[in-house]
């Protein structure tokens, strides 16, 4: 059969962002084969950036309705193209572009630049496919496609113990989680007789005989997602991996990978496991996600508050944010009038978070580039030496805490507001308390930057890492811009959420 008939109408347009990235990755392999030592860093970087920007551009163009109509399935319903998939493609491609931009300076003295970029592109492709996945089979394949390059990327600094160790832990826990996840899928298949999300949903609605099998399968899948989004108690790999990984990769994994993981969780649980039927069958996944959300918010923030190292603080803060977004699943209600609001809040938060968190990690990359050090004290006085970058990261951190200086305010507002509207005020209360606590540790970094005196007479900042600077600034500007221009994004998120929870 020709791809055209197999893929469905205009499938290559729907998947343009992924295709562009695959093409770029293949081109990089070609370049790398000819020039294995990547002597011409500029060319490799240029090709990669062009590729990610083209993918980003095509995602935006599709979102503006310049492509085929949305809401169709491709490849015999294996993939789906709707607002949600495009919104998350947008998140992944913009995060990837920022990370590529920041990596140029970061990789300057490192070998194997070509491999780095191609692995990055392949992981991003996997994440984009995760956004499109419409059956449990493609979900699993896409998840693995995103994960395997990520393991390699985390341990990319082969001379660095932390990096290698983090990568190994990530890989081991990942292998365990994949096994658990695929076992969960098999149990769901056994109970419902289908892998297609919509068919699973129909089967569940009509009633399943083996409730226990289905329930166990669902919970095992929750564990799999919990790994991907680094939710407590499946988060243990995350602090070690984020801390050990090259800082741009920490940003990439903690933003893009997490967003993609969340989208498939949203899609699978709203489409394949409709809430009403599942609760009737005694499989109350909303409750499970509620427990995970509360645990993740509390433990993530508490742990972040006690860290001495900036990067590790950000790692835990990233876990805490997964907790906030989990509210989007935990505050759903069977027949609730505001389900779309809650879910849209989660999507919006992931969107804003993509910029805030990547920007913050890229600032750490900047500090690593300058050899500033790892602890809060080491960052003291940077505000005077690098005022622009410090100002940008200050905005990002305040926005992460949810202060109204950036889009982070609106997304938390929508999340908590939606939870309250759906009757889950306690999630909002815990989220607010956790956000207040988060201000404490974000403020520690801000205070170090601007107020504290450097202990040993300041740092010598050499070189002008333009790429990193630009990336941090763009992240900050977009974050601030979303304070004013949140409207269009929120609209897309509402449409996307409305499609899922109808």
């Amino acid at each position: 059969m020709a791809l055209d008939t197999l893929g469905g109408e205009d499938w290559f347009l729907h998947l343009a962002p992924a295709l562009v990235m695959i093409a770029t990755a293949l081109a990089l392999f070609g370049v790398d084969a000819l020039d294995p030592d990547s002597t011409n860093h500029r060319a490799v970087f240029g090709v990669t950036l062009a590729g990610t920007l083209a993918a980003l551009g095509s995602a935006i163009a599709l979102l503006f309705g310049m492509g085929p109509e949305l809401g169709t399935t491709l490849f015999s319903d294996q993939l789906v193209a709707d607002e949600a998939s495009l919104l998350f493609t947008l998140i992944v491609t913009s995060v990837t572009s920022l990370v590529v931009l920041g990596s140029y300076d970061y990789l300057e003295d490192l070998p194997d630049k070509g491999e780095f970029y191609s692995l990055l592109l392949l992981a991003a492709t996997g994440m984009v496919l995760m956004a499109h996945a419409n059956s449990l089979a493609t979900v699993f394949v896409a998840l693995e496609l995103a994960s395997l390059p990520s393991y390699a990327l985390v341990s990319f600094l082969t001379d660095n113990r932390g990096s290698v160790e983090g990568g190994l832990k990530y890989f081991l826990i990942g292998a365990l989680s994949s096994a658990v996840f695929v076992y969960g899928i098999s149990l769901v298949y056994a109970a419902t007789g289908s892998l297609l999300l919509s068919d699973v949903g129909t089967a569940v609605t009509e009633g399943v005989d083996q409730t226990g099998v289905l329930g166990l399968g669902v919970l095992l899948m929750v564990a799999g997602f919990g790994f991907k989004i680094a939710s407590v108690p499946f988060h243990f790999w995350a602090p070690d991996a984020y801390e050990g990984a090259p800082a741009p990769i920490s940003g990439f994994v903690s933003s893009a990978s997490k967003a993609a993981g969340f989208l498939i969780a949203f899609r699978v649980f709203t489409t394949a496991f409709p809430l009403g039927a599942m609760q009737d069958a005694g499989i109350d996944w909303v409750f499970v996600f509620g427990v995970l959300a509360v645990l993740t918010m509390l433990l993530g923030n508490l742990a972040a508050a006690t860290q001495d190292e900036v990067k590790r603080m950000l790692a835990y803060s990233s876990i805490a944010h997964a907790g906030y977004v989990l509210i989007a699943l935990a505050a759903l209600k069977s027949g609730g009038a505001h389900n779309d609001w809650v879910l849209a809040g989660g999507m919006l938060h992931l969107f804003v978070y993509g910029f805030m968190n990547t920007g913050a990690f890229l600032f750490v990359a900047l500090a690593e580039h300058w050899d500033v050090g790892r602890t809060f004290e080491d960052y003291a006085g940077l505000g005077e030496e690098a005022p622009v970058a410090s100002a940008a990261v200050t905005v990002l951190l305040f926005s992460l805490a949810g202060l109204p200086v950036g889009g982070g305010f609106w997304s938390k507002f929508m999340l908590f507001g939606g939870a309250i509207q759906n009757g889950f005020w306690w999630f909002a209360a815990i989220g607010l308390a956790a956000s207040a606590l988060s201000l404490f540790y974000y403020w520690r970094l801000i205070r170090a930057l601007w107020i504290d005196q450097p202990t040993d007479g300041g740092h010598e900042l050499d070189g002008t890492p333009t790429g990193l600077y630009v990336a941090v600034l763009v992240a900050a500007l977009v974050t601030v811009g979303l304070l004013v221009g949140v409207g269009p994004v929120a609209e897309v998120a509402f449409d996307a959420a409305g499609n899922l929870v109808g």
Binding site: L168, K169, L172, I173, L176, S177, V180, T211, G212, G215, L216, L219, L220, V222, A223, P233, F234, F236, W237, P239, D240, A281, G282, I283, D284, F287, V288, V291, L299, N301, L302, A303, A304, A305, T306, Q307, L437, F440, V484, V486, G487, E491
Partner: protein, 691 residues
């Protein structure tokens, strides 16, 4: 073809651009930012005139959703433009005064040696640009929220400019005072904005906006389902509360009693800034806001009475303080407060046209007087104590004659502009006052203030320009250039003739209402050529609301309807002349004496501004501070105590959490698998899978 209405936003964007230019590259430009400012405001003026003419030919324009800031389903927060007779007139006025002030500033700042030494011109012109931009955007705002934002920006700019010479002692403190006092009023305004949004779901001004919903409800009782009222509160009472909350901002910005104290201090700013603040921007913003949403106020008799009374009282109260000031700018400052009192009085009695008319006239003659005072100040090497001036008439004829024209207008002497508008204000107040004694009291205070106005105005003129020079600087003033004289001449002509726009007594006498150009203009809600119908923004509609809904009926004055305006015009004219003549007899002599000492204790009280500043300081230190200290103790002891306890608990448990992260992968796997088992067992038991 490009429509003027499509370019309205440019009216504010151009001065904003000049702000950006001055801030970024101003210091390398030939006049350090003056030229872009002049070009921008000239552009704004041209566009404003175009918009004005377009309103004339094809009716008003209303577009509330140019940009949607937030769409929350239930209501939207948007930015838009409303160009109707009132706002288009105001746009022309503001951009004209801003343009002239920019031109004058070249003479005042760039040509003056002392000011050159102090420097900072790019900052100055940046401030002026942003000030003009915020005010212009405020004027064409299509809804209350947008108006509030630019209202606040106007306040910020006044802070920047009043404190322009921030290295000296007084200006920063004056700037701070202006900012804090107006902010105090703005708190109420902000609460009012939120209240209006919640109550009506919209804050739009024009048709379909909250003034129309409110007045429609008050008139017919319809549409109650779309109006949110807290608890069992009576709807009209709730509207009155909302109106008063917004009025808080107005009282602060328009320097009405008791929040007027910032304005005299604000004289520390450069004099052209004072002209801009007093004539066209900051202070005018308050009154303009009431006029803009007059459809809301017009149906609320209690609020109208409060507005009228505050206005009448402020007019008299400020005029009495103007009488004893020795500094020429201080006299003008109190006269500003007093004149805005008249406008509030007019609005309080439903005299929408009279208020707008006085706003227009006042803008021209007060800008003229301030620029004239500025000319005197630069010419005499920064002397503004009137007892050190005198005799400037011979050396500075252009300044003298234009200043005289402005003074005649301020004092309300026929046929200068101030006479016609002030007379209309008082006549409107009288008509209502004949039926309602409270309004009659407000009218009486306004009438008495006319006499004082005549007195202090001419005291100022005689002490500054007549007699013999009382210091060597006044003997040999510096010559001035075209850039100071030009604006004075333009404003002098305007101050003389704008009164002819609405000669009410003459119109009544000859029975021809066609010559009431301004009244007809503000009443033209009909769209001529396919423009939008703005029936809810017309003078007719407002008059209907004031009379029928608020129940303020006009009485019939003693003589016949044709003669009454003339008679009462003559009364106020004779009072003004009386004041002026008294000033002449005391001060237009070769050796004028200080009379204030002879007033004894009363004079002292007035000279100290009725100890209001002291009272406000006492309010801050004697009342607010103890309360603040008490809450601080509460905060430190109980709230902070709780927070600290929480955070130490958090940090402690955080330590514990940290210990779980042991670093060994086998431990991780153990915890993960154990948790998974716990989940499965727990959910399974609750869900009954094992049954």
């Amino acid at each position: 073809m490009v429509n003027a209405f499509d370019l309205v936003w440019l009216i504010a964007a151009l001065p904003f651009l000049s702000f950006v230019v001055s801030v970024t590259v101003g210091r390398w430009l030939p006049k350090e930012g003056a030229l872009p400012g002049i070009a921008a405001t000239a552009g704004s003026l041209a566009l404003s005139l175009w918009a004005f003419l377009t309103v004339r030919s094809s009716g008003a324009h209303y577009e509330n959703e140019l940009y949607t800031w937030i769409d929350a389903g239930g209501f939207e927060l948007t930015f838009g433009v409303l160009v109707d007779p009132l706002s288009s007139m105001m746009l022309v006025l503001v951009s004209l005064v801003a343009f002239l002030v920019h031109v004058f500033s070249m003479g005042y700042m760039n040509d003056d040696e002392l000011h050159r030494e102090k420097g900072g011109f790019p900052r100055y012109y940046a401030g002026l640009g942003l000030f003009s931009a915020s005010m212009l955007a405020f004027v064409f705002s299509s809804n209350l929220l947008m108006a509030f934002m630019f209202f606040e920006l106007v306040g910020l700019c006044s802070w920047i400019l009043i404190g322009f010479w921030f290295r000296e002692e007084a200006p920063p403190s004056a700037a701070k005072k202006a900012f804090l006092v107006t902010r105090f009023g703005d708190y109420f305004f902000l609460v009012g904005v939120v209240g209006i949004l919640v109550t009506f779901g919209t804050s739009g001004f024009a048709d379909g906006g909250f003034p129309q919903i409110a007045s429609h409800f008050l008139e017919t009782g319809e549409g109650a389902d779309h109006i949110w009222v807290p608890g069992d509160l009576d709807t009209q009472t709730w509207f009155s509360i909302l109106g008063l909350l917004v009025l808080g901002g107005v009282i602060g910005k328009s320097a009405q009693f008791p929040l007027h104290t910032w304005l005299p201090d604000a004289m520390e700013g450069p004099t052209p800034v004072s002209a801009l603040i007093h004539a066209a921007t900051m202070v005018a913003a308050g009154v303009y806001l009431v006029a803009r949403m007059f459809g809301f106020y017009a149906g609320l008799p209690t609020v109208l009475a409060i507005i009228a009374f505050i206005g009448g009282f402020t007019a008299l109260f400020a005029a009495s303080m103007g009488v004893v000031k020795d500094d020429i700018k201080q006299v003008l400052a109190y006269s500003t407060i007093s004149q805005y009192g008249y406008m509030m009085l007019a609005l309080g009695v439903g005299g929408y046209v009279a208020a707008s008319f006085h706003l227009l006239n006042h803008a021209f003659f007060k800008a003229l007087l301030f620029l004239g005072a500025g000319a005197v100040i630069v010419a005499t090497h920064h002397h503004q104590d009137m007892w050190k001036l005198g005799g400037l008439k011979r050396e500075m004829p252009v300044t003298y004659y234009t200043f005289l024209a402005g003074s005649l207008a301020l004092a309300g002497i026929v046929p200068f502009s101030g006479f016609w508008s002030k007379d209309e204000v008082l006549y409107d107040a009288l008509l209502i006052g004949l039926e309602q004694p409270l309004f009659l009291a407000a009218y009486a205070m306004g009438l008495l203030a006319v006499f004082l106005t005549g007195f202090y105005t001419f005291r100022m003129v005689f002490l500054t320009f007549h007699g013999e020079p009382r210091s060597e600087h006044a003997e040999h003033p510096e010559p001035l250039r075209w850039n100071t004289k030009g604006p004075l001449a333009v404003l002098g002509v305007l101050a003389t003739v704008t009164g002819l726009l609405n000669m009410k007594p003459v119109a009544e006498l000859i029975g021809n209402h066609d010559i009431l150009y301004l009244e007809n203009w503000l009443d033209s809600g009909t769209a001529a050529n396919g423009g939008e119908w703005m029936g809810s923004l017309t003078y007719h509609h407002y008059g209907h609301l004031v009379h029928e809904v608020a129940g303020l009926h006009e009485g019939s004055p003693p003589p016949s309807a044709e003669l009454a305006p003339i008679v009462f015009g003559a009364i106020s004219l004779s009072l003004a002349l009386g004041g002026a003549l008294l000033a002449k007899s005391i001060y237009d002599v070769p050796e004028p004496e200080r009379m204030t000492d002879r007033l004894g204790p009363v004079g002292r009280v007035v000279q100290r501004n009725y100890y209001l500043d002291e009272f406000q300081v006492w309010l801050a230190t004697g009342v607010t501070e103890p309360v603040a200290r008490a809450s601080n103790t509460f905060d430190q002891g109980i709230i902070d105590g709780a927070v600290n306890a929480t955070s130490s608990v958090s940090l402690f448990s955080g330590e514990r959490v940290r210990r779980i992260q042991s670093g060994a992968v086998t431990n991780y796997v153990l915890v993960i698998v154990m948790s998974l088992i716990v989940f499965v067992v727990a959910v399974g038991i609750v869900g009954g899978w094992f049954l």
